[in-house]
């Protein structure tokens, strides 16, 4: 924990730097969204990668996750796993669940 005076004084400068980086990254996201990449999916991918980097910075620096107690990480581990399952559910709606799970292979269409 950054609880001692010196550590907090040091981190103040970092908060401002990270804030600046976040604003610049937001500007970059806007600019990149107007760039015509080969497919629009690539635009989405790039945008989401940038957003994830920004979110990670907020979580690590502003939310102090770069130095937290293990209990918090345990809670977050569950969250990450459950959220991943939530998004994975999408695959089962988009694909045939029986084929996807390897339950049977579809007969080739003539």
């Amino acid at each position: 924990m950054a609880d001692n005076i010196e550590a907090i004084q040091k981190s103040i400068k970092w908060y401002l730097v990270i804030g600046g980086i976040l604003i610049l990254a937001s500007g970059a996201t806007v600019w990149l969204s107007y760039v015509e990449l080969p497919t629009h999916s690539l635009n989405i991918l790039v945008g989401m990668i940038l957003a994830t980097i920004k979110a990670t910075l907020v979580a690590l620096i502003f939310m102090h996750l770069n130095h937290e107690r293990s209990m918090i990480y345990k809670i977050l581990l569950f969250t990450v796993v459950l959220a991943a399952v939530l998004f994975a559910l999408f695959i089962f709606s988009h694909e045939d669940p029986l084929v996807f799970s390897g339950f049977y292979a579809p007969v080739e269409q003539q």
Binding site: I8, H40, F62, M63, R69, I72, L82
Partner: protein, 449 residues
């Protein structure tokens, strides 16, 4: 009884209690927003219309992004200043955070307001017209004299209520009505109650399921009503929401629309869109549209010779979603706009149109199938847009209220137990950062990509 471990860490977890509490709460919040982001993917993949990209006000969205990031910095600074016992700086940082929340919500309200006032009309050939309805949209009826009301004897969802569903739509003052008994009455709560009671009594005696009341207006009535406020209408009849029917003559169900956009992405031959019919935008705009479309297609072919132009959503939008920014069609050669949008700029000469910036068309009812303002009714994009930003907005309000409470009402704790207040601010701040974090994903997904 004192709540334990508000200041010092519990020996087993190494944390003060509120911190575990807020992280558990944030974990549940991740699942809440995760579910909605997951819904966003479902809706986007399943959308049977071009998913709107850059359709919201990007500048306003970007300003809000900067505002939220700034407030995230100030809230963590407030905590640090409290730890360093710089109380003045703590107060300043907290105040800026709350002000930022206010600015964010103010911008959001501007954005919502613009959407509520903006309309999209779907024409029968698949063209979408966007624009404003300067006078709203009303169906007009005149010469209505005979009214048939029915009151079911059993409880029913539809039962005659002319006071609530017929009288409000009369243009001018309501005339008197003649009952079947020849009596002349002024229709109001009391007189209708008496009339209805009498009719119900008669129907019960005759063992009928429904009591009918016939009213003849002493003077022909004119109606002006939104289509959503009535059940149905034909050229000669109108059925109100309470089941009351009237005969008369339909005089006007045309829609006056100030057109600011023609979206021909749903039309096979875009230049033949119904929007360019001689009754509507006409040939001059058609020319401007074609010129703009071909300009963008040629430019795309030049810039990206190897790419399939039918698969570029951006090109589809730039070439087929034509924005009209002047009241009259621009002269040849001036139609194509800047790098980002298909925007036709105002002609140099200017014009005397009272409405200024957009051409006005009067659409016949038979030519459009659907219209809506930019709300969840329009499409699934606006449904998820309002759900996500609305829920996020509620979080902004809630977080700002908590931080404002610490700033305004926790002065005693600030003087006597600043370490405890620092922990409170840290917990409030963690929630605030989470709100920022959600916006970091919302902004690109809804505004940019």
């Amino acid at each position: 009884m004192d709540i334990p471990y508000t200041v010092h860490a519990r020996p087993d977890t190494g944390l003060y209690n509120a911190k575990i509490g807020i992280w558990l709460f944030l974990a549940s919040e991740v699942m809440l927003f995760g579910g909605l982001f997951s819904a966003y993917i479902f809706l986007r993949v399943g959308a049977d219309y071009p998913w709107p990209v850059h359709d919201l006000d990007v500048t306003l969205g970007f300003i809000n992004t900067v505002v939220l990031i700034a407030s995230s910095v100030t809230v963590v600074m407030a905590w640090a200043m409290l730890k360093l016992r710089k109380f003045g700086w703590y107060r300043i940082n907290m105040a800026i955070t709350v002000i930022c929340a206010g600015v964010f919500m103010f911008n959001k309200s501007l954005e919502y307001k613009a959407k509520f006032a903006h309309y999209a009309v779907k024409l029968t050939d698949g063209t979408m017209l966007t624009g404003h309805l300067p006078h709203g949209y009303q169906v007009k009826f005149e010469g209505a004299t005979e009214f048939n009301l029915s009151v079911p004897l059993k409880t029913s969802a539809v039962t005659a209520d002319p006071i609530g569903h017929v009288l409000p739509f009369i243009e001018g003052t309501a005339p008197k009505f003649k009952t079947e008994g020849g009596q002349e009455i002024t229709l109001d709560e009391a007189s209708f109650k008496a009339l209805s009671a009498e009719a119900v009594k008669k129907a019960a005696e005759a063992k009928k399921g429904t009591a009918s009341i016939k009213l003849i207006a002493t003077a022909p009535i004119k109606f002006a009503v939104k289509p959503s406020e009535i059940f149905a209408y034909t050229d000669t009849t109108i059925t109100f929401r309470d089941g009351t029917t009237a005969t008369g003559k339909l005089t006007d169900d045309k829609m006056t629309l100030e057109v600011d956009g023609v979206d021909a992405r749903g039309v096979a031959q875009s230049e033949k869109s119904l929007a360019f019919d001689h009754r509507y935008l006409g040939e001059a705009w058609q020319k401007a549209f074609v010129e703009n479309r071909d300009h963008h297609i040629t430019k795309f072919e030049k810039d990206y010779p190897t790419r399939d132009k039918t698969r570029s959503a951006t090109l589809q939008k730039e070439s087929l979603f034509f924005k009209l920014n002047s009241a009259e069609a621009p002269a040849a050669g001036a139609a194509h706009g800047d790098a980002h949008g298909a925007e036709a700029h105002a002609p140099a000469g200017g014009h005397g149109d009272a409405h200024g910036h957009h051409p006005t068309v009067v659409l016949e009812k038979k030519d459009f199938t659907f219209f809506s303002n930019f709300t969840p009714k329009l499409n699934t994009y606006y449904a998820i847009y309002f759900t996500l930003t609305g829920l996020h907005g509620l979080h902004v309000i809630a977080g700002a209220l908590v931080l404002l409470y610490f700033l305004a009402f926790d002065g005693k704790r600030l003087r006597q137990d600043p370490e405890h207040l620092a922990n409170r601010v840290e917990v409030g701040g963690l929630f605030w950062h989470f709100v920022d974090l959600v916006w970091i994903f919302l902004f690109p997904l809804l505004y940019l990509l």
